[in-house]
């Protein structure tokens, strides 16, 4: 049986029509890479090279006696990035799985004005599109 469920990225791309007046153009950009994206998605599903124990979430750990220091520094206007530049609150130092293979190791990253990150080697675009469609 052909794995039709794996075609949902294309549906997500079309869903952009509803989201923005420029959505059609963005969907077009996504479709230009649709074959590469499909390859990466399926390869990842079979080989699971990205999988690892999520120790940062799955390990029992508690914090106590918390002290918080928050001091307003400045108001920033007209920022172009959708997220803080240099943010590292999601940084993982202790992951053991490294490497990649074929297309998975060749990451093409395009950051559009809407903050959509296109990554052939990862799933970011699909996650972003899902959020975008909401």
């Amino acid at each position: 049986m052909f794995d039709l469920t794996a075609l949902w990225p294309l549906q997500a791309a079309f869903a952009l029509f509803d989201s923005d007046s420029n959505g059609g153009a963005y969907a077009g950009l996504v479709l230009l890479a649709s074959g590469f994206l499909y390859y990466a998605l399926i390869y990842r599903r079979y080989r699971n090279q990205d999988k690892r124990h999520r120790h940062e979430r799955e390990t029992r750990a508690a914090i106590e006696n918390v002290q918080v220091f928050d001091q307003f520094r400045q108001h920033r206007k007209g920022l172009r990035s959708a997220a803080m530049v240099g943010r590292n609150d999601e940084l993982i130092e202790g992951a053991l799985n490294v490497g990649g293979e074929g297309l998975l190791s060749q990451t093409l990253k395009v950051t559009s004005e809407t903050g959509i990150d296109i990554s052939v080697g990862g799933i970011r675009i699909f996650d972003t599109l899902r959020k975008y469609h909401k």
């Binding site: 077009g28 074959g35 690892r52 914090i63 002290q67 803080m84 943010r87 993982i92």
Partner: protein, 425 residues
């Protein structure tokens, strides 16, 4: 983790309170630099109890015909059918009470000169029986058929502090693996599909280091909170812009980590996914360590095991990195206001207590050796957690088929994509 910086209190502020409601604070948190490392000798806790090498007898009838019953997770005597287990009491306790470095006697450093092949004199008949601890911790006396076990901890890495017994039967594991592979059939390598069978799966006890950490964490950085999102420019050249408030941040808290688990086999620690699929075995962590029992070689009967070959010192960096990951992850809960993200500039972890123990953890493994067209070999695993049933695996891909379908999608995508760009741009 030898660095133990001293504590200096931060101004106390209620967690979750909006920053604008906070009283005025000094511009930078008054943090002190880390102090020099404090060398400390580990305290070794004996975990073997009164375990002895040789014939391990049923406490009720004296038979040595003992095996794990995976239904109950207890040892079962095949002669009198009684069941029992010994809880692993020696290294359990509240992480709050941890102080200094405590290690189980099974986690002591491996001394390379210690023999891995051991010779026992059977206490029933006097015959000499050889056990190669790299492959097994039990052997049958070839004369009187009694089972001889290696239970004493000698510094060769063979006997751990605790063992988590298998709770999943072979049949249950087979179902998990078949279900996993059946969802990945269309693009699976045809040779793999032809040869796939779960008849040869193996129950393996793999060696892990399980670590509790008590520490104090101090973090400083900056966070951004979104104030406004808007669009600028003409219709042809529109851009999205953001206004945000920038804050200096400091977090200071005690961190209590329970059962952080890492591989204690140098081979399993190698998780370069180009070269192997060990990462799928890593994925099925964690194991419920509350089901751990005192080691007894009879738990391994009918299963295979892999000897530990990695010492505590080699894992310090990894444990430190994963503990910092936990600190960052838990700190997020105290900083949900910063929806554009946080950049932590410093993270000081001062460890005041650590507990290290070695464990054999149960894994059902299906393995498939793929020989590629260029002659190279790749070992694919499908692994099942022997307690929780969590399953992860690597299935070899039929690349020509996947490339063909991807190519067709790419052609259609280019045509439709260009049409959309011309239409909307």
């Amino acid at each position: 983790m030898p660095d133990l910086p001293t504590q200096q209190d931060l101004p106390p502020v209620a967690v979750g309170q909006h920053p604008s409601q906070q009283p005025p604070q000094p511009e930078q948190p008054p943090f002190s630099p880390p102090q020099p490392p404090q060398p400390e000798q580990p305290q070794v806790v004996q975990t073997a109890g009164d375990a002895k090498d040789g014939i391990d007898k049923c406490p009720h009838c004296g038979s040595s015909d003992i095996e794990l019953n995976p239904q109950t997770g207890m040892l079962h005597c095949h002669y009198c059918h009684s069941e029992w287990s010994a809880p692993a009491d020696a290294l359990t306790g509240d992480v709050h009470q941890l102080s200094g470095i405590v290690i189980g006697s099974g986690a002591q450093d491996i001394i390379p000169s210690v023999d891995v092949v051991m010779t026992f004199k059977c206490s029933a008949c006097g015959a000499e029986v050889i056990v190669d601890t790299r492959e097994a911790l039990q052997a049958r006396c070839h004369w009187c058929r009694n089972t001889l076990s290696v239970n004493e901890q000698i510094p060769n890495g063979a006997v751990p502090d605790v063992v988590v017994p298998f709770r999943l039967t072979r049949e249950q594991a087979q179902q998990h693996i078949e279900q996993f592979v059946s969802k990945r059939q269309f693009y699976a390598n045809p040779t793999f599909k032809r040869e796939f069978t779960t008849e040869n799966i193996m129950g393996v006890y793999l060696p892990y280091m399980v670590v509790d950490v008590k520490g104090h964490v101090r973090m400083t950085g900056q966070g951004e909170h979104l104030v406004r999102r808007y669009t600028v420019g003409s219709k042809e050249n529109r851009e999205t812009r953001y206004d945000a408030d920038l804050y200096d941040l400091g977090r200071d808290f005690d961190l209590l980590v329970d059962d952080l688990t890492v591989e204690a086999s140098s081979e399993r620690l190698q998780q370069n996914t180009v070269a192997n699929s060990n990462n799928v075995i890593n994925t099925i962590l964690p194991f419920p360590m509350e089901t751990a029992v005192q080691f007894n070689a009879n738990y391994l009967r009918g299963y295979t095991s892999e000897k530990r070959d990695t010492n505590r010192e080699a894992l310090l960096g990894l444990i430190g990195a994963q503990t910092r990951d936990l600190a960052r992850n838990r700190a997020k809960a105290t900083a949900t206001f910063y929806d554009r993200g946080i950049r932590w500039d410093t993270l000081d972890l001062a460890v005041s207590g650590q507990l290290w123990k070695t464990a054999y953890l149960p894994v059902w493994l299906y393995s498939y050796l793929q020989v590629k067209n260029d002659g190279s070999r790749f070992l694919h695993y499908v692994a099942v957690n022997g307690v929780t049933g969590e399953t992860m695996g690597s299935v070899p891909v039929h690349k020509p088929k996947l490339l063909l379908v991807s190519g067709l999608i790419e052609v259609v995508g280019i045509v439709v994509g260009l049409a959309l760009i011309l239409l909307f741009a």
